[in-house]
Structure formats: C-alpha cells, structure tokens
Subunit: 562 residues, 2 copies
C-alpha cells in the first residue's frame, strides 16, 4: 500500500479518488450567482492515513482529492460560475502546505505520486481558467507557506491581507531541505515572472514576504487592509466575472457516482474494465465502445448527463489510472485494449466536434485532454494492442499514440472470424488533446517530418489496416497471427524484468519530444529534481530535515555539493 | 576527493583538466589539410583512478578531458580545419561508452560531475560545428554502445560499417538500470528525431541496431560496406569541407600551458585567483582586469596568442571552475569579485565587438559563452560582490547576471579612498553569450518586462552606480557601508548552512527561466532523472545493476514503480 510506515485511516483498503461534496471533510463549496467560494477548512483529524494531524490547514492527498473533485464539479455542475474564490476557513492562516509528518512518514513512491496528483490538480485550476473561463482568486488571509503558496500560485489573482502578519513563503529549502516542488519554483519565475535573484532570496527565507514588497516583487497581485479586504474581493470577483468568456447559460449536470466494482482481479466499470495480473505485473485496461448512438442534440446530451458515453468513459478511465498509480505500485505496464463498434466511437467524436462551442462539450473535450495528459505522465510502460474487435477511433486512437509502443495485428487471428482490426482518425487527433508540452501526440510523433501529420490528416475517416497504419507511422509494429503471441509475450516479459526506475526515467524523456512549456517544465525540470532530493539522506535520512522537523533537533547534513 | 572507493592513479592529488596532445594517452589528433582526424584509442591502463581497466575504448573522465582539450585546440590552433572525423583506433569497436566499473565504484558526486563534464564536451562539439564551421563526422566501425553512441550522436554525420556486426546501441536500461544520460535519450528524439516508439524499442535492446534499419530509423546517416567505407568517408569530408562556413585562412595560435599554482589555500593564475576558505566553505574567485591596452589590430592579437587577455582569463576561469567542481566538493559557494581598471576591460570587449568577424575573435567570444554556460550549470551558489576597485564591465558583468544573487556597495567604504563601484554594460551583454536555454542573462532576468532589457541597453557605456544599477534591476541588493559586512556575512552563514541538495535543485530551477532548448533539456529533464536513478538501489545498491554488472549474478530489483 501507499505508505510503508502508514496505515490508511478508517480501515480503508485503498486510496479512493472518488468523492462528492456530501463527503468532504476539508473543503466547502458555496455558489452565489456567478461566484463560487471554495473554502479550505481542513479537519485536523481527517488525514488519509493514521499517525498525523492536519494542523493549520496543512494537507495530504485526501485533502487534494477533494479539491480536485470540487474544481471538476464547478466546471460540470455550475456553468453559471465564472469566478472561484479560494480562501481559508481558519483564522490568520491560509494554508501551511503539505503536511510534513505525512511526508516524513511516506514511502518514496507515495511522495512522488502525491506530488504528481497535486501538480495535476493545480494544472487543472489553470486549465479551468484558460479553457472554461472560471477565473480563480486566492485570498491570503494569513500564512500561505510552501504548498499553501503554491496553491495560490495556481490561481489567476492573489490577494493578500495587509495586516503586518499575512505573508507568502516558500520555506522548503531552509526548513525542510526539499524543494517547493508542486510547481512553486517554476510558477514563481515562469508564471509570475519574479526576477530570479528575488526568487532566490524569497525561496531561502523561512518567514516569507508580506505587504508591499510582496506586490513589488510580483509575489502577490494586491494587498488590502483587513477592513477593506472583503470589499476588494467582491470588486475583483465582479470584474473577473465581467471579463470571463464563460457565457454562464445552461444548467449543470450532476457528476453522479461511478458504477465501480473493485476486486482482487481489478476494477470494473460500465465501459472500462481493468484486469490485473499480479504475477505478470500487468494491468489490461479495456475500453468498450458506446452501445447506442449519441443523442440527437445537445439537449439530449444534457439529459443523459454523466451517462453520456464520452464523459462517462473519461471519468471511468481517469479513476482507473489514478487507482492503479497509487494503489498498485508493482504493476509495471498498462496495456490498453478496446472493443465494440468503432462507428459508434466515431459518432460520439463527431458529436464532440460538431458541438464544440457548447459549454458542456467544451468541458468534456478538455476533460479528455486532461485524462490523456495524466496517462502521459503515468510512470508505467504504456502499451496499446490493436486487435480484432477493437475500436481505436479518434479519441480512443490517442491511446495508440500515447503508448510507448503499439502493436497491431495484420489480418485475422486463426479461429477468430472477426475482421482485421482498423484504426480510424478524425478531428480529435489533430488539435483538441495537446500534450503538456503543447504538441498533439501526432505532432510529437512526427517531428522528423511534419508532413506526416498532413498525410495522416488526409486519411481522416478511412479504415486503416495494420500495414497502412504502419506505413503511415501510426503504430510501432504490425504483426501477423504467426508472430503476434510470441512477440507480444517476449516484449511483456522483457519489459517487466527491467528496473522500474530506469524505465520511469527513460519514458519520461522519450515521451516529451521537442518543446517544453511551463506545465511540462513542472513535470520535468522541477519534479525530476524534487524526486532526486526525495532520495537524499539530507532530506529523508534518519538525521535529515524531513525526519527531524518538529523534533527540536537540527538536521545533520552531508555538505558535499552534487 | 572525487571517488570514495577510488584512488587517483599515479599518485595524483587532484583531477587536472589541463593537458595537451604530447600528454594524451587515449586520443590522437592528425591534421591533413582541412580535415582533422581524432582517433580514440583508449589505453586500458590509463584510467584516471586505480582499480579498473578501460577496455574496448570505454572511457572515464580522463579520456574525456583529452577529448575536450582536442576539440578546443582544433578550434584555436587549426583555423584551416573544416571537418573533424572522429573514429576508433580499435578493431571492430568504436567505443563501449562510460566504463562501468569506474561508474560502479564512483561516489554519487563523481558520477554527476562526470556526466556534467561529458555533456559539456559533447555540447562543445556541437558548438564548434554550429559556430566555428568545424563539421564532425563519426565513423562507427564496430560497436558504438551507450556513451559510445552518445559521442556519435554529438557529431553532425554518423557513418556506420555495413558488415553485419557494427551497430549502435543504448543498452543502459536493459543492462545497467540507468539512463543513456549523456544526452543520449534527448538527442535520439530531439536532434535525430527518431520516432518515440522506435526510440523506446531501441533503448531497451542490448544488442542495438545495425545495417539498413539503423538508417531507416534515423539512428545513423549512412552505412557502407567496409570495402567502400574509407572512400565514402573521404567523399563526405570533402563535401562537408566545401559546405563549411569556416574560411580556413590564418594561422592558429598555440594554447600554451596556463601559469597556475595550486596550494592549500586555492588556485593562483595570472589574472584569476581563487581563495578557498574551507572553514566557511566559500571559494572567492577574483578576476583581474588587463594591465595593458589591447593590441592595435588582429595581427597584434594573433601575436599575443594565448596571452591575449580575453582568451587567457577565459581559460583561467574555465580551469578554476572545473577544478572547484570536482576537487572541492564541500565548497558551497563561489563568490565572484573583480579588480582593476574597468576601462581596460571595456577596451578588450570593444576589440571583441569590432573584430567579431575575425576567426580568432569569433572563437574567443564563443569560448567565453561556453565558460559562462559552465558557470550557469555549476551546482554551487553563485554570488557576485560589486565593491570599490571592481571592474564588472561587459563580459565580466555577465558574472553579476549569472549569479544567484549580487550585492553592490552604495558609496565608499570607510577608510577606503577608492571611488564607489560601478557596473558598465556594453555590446557583450546583449547577445554573444546566450545561456543554454537560448536567452541572454538579461533577457532571462527581465522576463516580467522585456522593455527593461532596452532600458539597460540605453545605458551602454555609462558608469552605473549601485542605486542606478538596483533601479535598473541589474543587482539584487545595493547596500551601504554600514550594512554591507553584516548583511553579506549573515547571508553567507545562512546559505552555507542549508542542505546542499536542496540548493542544487532550487538553483537549477530558478536559473533557467522561460524556454528550454535541446541543450537545456539535457541538463534538466535528462540529467535530473539520471541523477535520481543514480541514487536508486536498483542501480547503485549492493544488488543493483551497476554493482552486479560483470559478476555473473543478476541484479535484484525492487519492482515498485515510482
């Protein structure tokens, strides 16, 4: 399980990423017209694991799962909301950041997964702002330290009380010997464009920066005395709502609970099925095409709500990936398969393409983008098998291009009457689902000759058999029935025998060809260094700063500079 | 010293980056008209440390120091050379990569420093090709594995024998549980634009790829049967020479031995002095302005050769940085100071600006660029103190902008008659010395408001005192005499008390604001992941792959995926 020194609270057997506001322990959502307020009021005794208390609005993964859920619900359930105010329910503290005792007692794998998810949540805030027109304002009413300030950094506008006490701080380096690794270092210089030497100073002082200097150095956007703060917040919210591109019309849909069954062999949803083979250390993720045609129009889609196939399958897939990442640490490989009628998948993609200006369709498209991005940064070997009966069309074909390798069968399998498999491209492969570094998966794939993207585009709507797909560069290997079983088996056996660490590093490098963006820098430059530090005795050793924090004893450092 | 399990060979007390062809044990330079041949013929018994043999043209840092020296000399000593052919002196083996026993027995710090230097050497090859018109051809006559293929990847054109045996390979992941971390993963997909799934396959097979598939997959540029290989090489060399922008005129200058004295207290050169304070863990690097005006013309400069101030001080500074990096691992901070007549520095910069089309001036400018880049990726806190008597003008002012923080004195010091210090900008601050991510240090500094670069440019040639420099954003803090000593002392004490690892990670993030390039990706995405892996028991533990290599015992892996 996730933490070797830790036991999940309340007898839970796994970490669950599904929640809803009725179950929140740490956050409150209040919607008032076009402004929502997300209040962080962490329940000290509501930690995900036993053994620590979440004091001073510090957080663990459980707190962040609620935040991610809230941000998601605001997008889908509240089309009327144009501004989200993030604030604290505690007096004189905004958020103290990730809980240090939780970190100190976590396995390396849990630390890394925790940071990955919290990074995705913060990227999700920014995605909502950019693509759904929900602008985020954070209200720093007291200490915003470490992950607390990093949360504020993910919002569009940081307001701080000018009371001689409220301050923003990134005290990780001086206090804990780790980095502000949830985007902090990157967002300070790349998003807020704080001058690098000011950033250097800021990141090495425990007490942080308050008042005017915080504004001058671009660390916050504005300060206000407490007597005027509420009025200012209301004013800003109004202003941001007026400037939002979200039209605010329509009625939200409820993100109803997923139909999910978890057993020893895997996870079972309506359209996604995960079969876990622990002996082989492989999880096979099968995605089923819709069984019915899409609704005639957007009203029909709204009527279906969370049962609309494109949305439902995205939610199921997202949950499955998150579950596997954190609860199944020894699974080396995710094997994607699909089955069902490709024409149905095409019809749903066509619906998403034709109605892309509708707010809900827009949300579903951006959600698929985020699910696929989550897959891109998942540290497991990704393989897609294109076999008879599969339906890798458009959106689902992105799983072929997201894979480290794909195998496609040439012709039929002996004793199987189903026709040879085909891949079909559509508009969804040429824009709506960019990776975190800004390129589509096909652009990323065809860096050597960008005209291959055009060649692929020219085949939109055509059934592409294995030989054609291989020729177009869409699959890694096209194999016939004679070779298929052996080749795939040998690959699986070899791959799962390699050091998981070297695969993590290799895949993280090969998947992101070409440019970097702020978002991809967070997962590469920042995260890779943080993971390194999370291995170093100076941070995590018996005498390291994370372990010594709060004991009254100073950490002892090996002063060798590496 | 560099390796805790290792003793330097031949009783050496430190690793020396100075060498010359008369002392090479592993490389031969032969110049024939406009083509130079660099032959790698590693002396098995010429390892830098005791305890391993450099079989099959495998290399350690000592081998790479010679390569770096050779590449440097070809640029300065051989203006006539337009093509460099890199080949092996061994039969049926090009290069087996970094020596595994050396790696297995090295400290973490040595591994990291080794990779950093070898990366810089390969970047240097590419810099020579791009900016000096010396095109590199590698001739893969047999196995080019791991670092061997990475060396070939740094060349412009890879030719391989088509003999059923010669192959390129990156077997690090399957064989050693580490990454092809000397640029390999990045160059395969970003430079050679090998499709990511092909790269995935290639990087997981021990035996590598030979013949036609190597060409089809873009891993090499051409193959030729052994009977035709020499003729093809000559043909390509001729073609590349004809296409080179290097005009080939002029006579080279000799890179004569540096005047250097190393003692317990530091390193002492003619214009660079390094004072090491081991108790404080600080090295102070003082740079002296030239004492005489620059020569009247380029012939005068050629006459001075390696004694021309701009070149000499670059060589001294480069050597000092390299020495400190690898021989002084507990030094936390490099403090840059300068002294002498700023007008002299300005005059030399002016010379470099006016004569920039001359081949030697071009070389000196690009060399300074590389020295400054080396400083940027040096994992020590960089501080520049601008005090009375200093001469931070143009090229030397880049040390103010390269620093994590700079302090500048307002006015004079009590009891010191020298005038208040000034910074002066010139053309060298606005283009010739980009960082590895493509921006100048001033562009990087002023991301928030690029017009500040123009504001600075408008001040070219003016003496900027501390208050003006602070207002322009050129220094971090302007302090008067009353505060100076205490502020600087407290900063030094605090900074050197922090965990070196967290500082390494923090500085590597804050220094590289904004875009990334292939070169900067090698130092961020790739290197940071490799450093992480270099900490992981699966690679470096007692039962890890590096330690088990060659023992006949298989490595044992913790299969947790992180």
């Amino acid at each position: 399980m996730a933490g070797e020194d830790r036991v999940l609270a309340n007898g839970a057997k796994h970490i669950d990423f599904q929640t809803d506001p009725s179950r929140y322990r740490h956050w409150k959502i209040a919607v008032d017209g076009d402004v929502a307020t997300l209040t962080m009021d962490v329940d000290e005794n509501g930690g995900l694991f036993e053994g620590y208390q979440l004091k001073l609005n510090s957080y663990d993964l459980g707190v962040d799962i609620e935040l991610a859920d809230a941000v998601q619900r605001l997008r889908f359930e509240h089309p009327e909301v144009k501004v989200v105010v993030v604030r604290s329910g505690k007096n004189r503290v905004f958020c103290a950041g990730a809980n240090i005792r939780m970190l100190a007692g976590s396995t390396h794998a849990h630390k890394v997964n925790f940071c990955k998810f919290t990074n995705e949540t913060r990227n999700g805030l920014e995605d909502s702002s950019e693509n759904s027109g929900q602008k985020f304002i954070s209200v720093v009413n007291g200490t915003a330290a470490g992950g607390g300030y990093e949360l504020a950094l993910a919002t569009d506008h940081i307001m701080m009380a000018d009371d001689g006490s409220a301050a923003v701080a990134l005290p990780e380096v001086p206090l804990l010997a780790v980095l502000p690794g949830t985007g902090g270092l990157t967002r300070v210089v790349d998003k807020r464009k704080v001058r690098r030497d000011h950033a250097d100073y800021f990141c090495t002082i425990e007490e942080g920066i308050k008042g005017k200097r915080a504004v001058q150095w671009r660390l916050v956007d504005e300060i206000a005395p407490n007597s005027k703060l509420e009025a200012k917040i209301a004013e800003r919210a109004k202003e941001f709502a007026a400037g939002s591109k979200r039209n605010g019309n329509g009625k939200g849909i409820a993100l109803t609970p997923l139909h999910r069954k978890i057993d020893d062999n895997g996870l079972h949803y309506d359209f996604v099925d995960v079969e876990i083979n622990r002996a082989q250390r492989i999880a096979t993720i099968s995605i089923k095409a819709p069984e019915a045609a899409p609704p005639a129009d957007v009203d029909g889609m709204i009527g279906q709500g969370a049962d609309f196939w494109s949305l439902q399958v995205a939610r199921e897939l997202d949950d499955a990936i998150l579950h596997l990442r954190i609860n199944e640490l020894e699974i080396a490989m995710l094997v994607f398969k699909s089955h069902g009628d490709g024409a149905m998948v095409a019809a749903y993609d066509d619906f998403l393409d034709k109605n892309k200006d509708h707010w809900l369709v827009n949300e579903i498209r951006h959600y698929w983008k985020r699910v696929l991005k989550r897959i891109d940064v998942t540290s497991r070997t990704l393989v897609t098998l294109v076999e008879p009966g599969s339906c890798f069309v458009g959106t689902l074909a992105e799983l072929v291009f997201a894979a480290d390798r794909s195998y496609m069968l040439v012709g039929q399998k002996q004793g199987d009457n189903r026709p040879p498999p085909a891949i079909m491209l559509n508009a969804m492969n040429f824009g709506p689902y960019p990776m975190s570094h800004g390129l589509t998966r096909l652009q990323s794939r065809f860096q050597a000759d960008p005209s291959q993207v055009d060649d692929a585009k020219a085949k939109i709507g055509e059934s592409l058999d294995a030989e054609t797909a291989e020729e177009l560069g869409l699959v890694t290997f096209a194999l016939d029935d004679i070779d298929w079983d052996d080749e795939v088996r040998v690959f699986f056996e070899e791959r799962t025998s390699f050091s998981p660490d070297s695969l993590t590093g290799m895949e993280a490098n090969l998947r992101f060809v070409g440019p970097e963006t702020m978002e991809s820098k967070i997962f590469s430059r920042l995260t890779a260094w943080q993971n390194w530090i999370f291995q170093r005795p100076n941070a995590v050793g018996e005498n390291g700063a994370l372990r010594r924090y709060g004991t009254g004893e100073r950490a002892q450092f090996d002063m060798t500079r590496v």
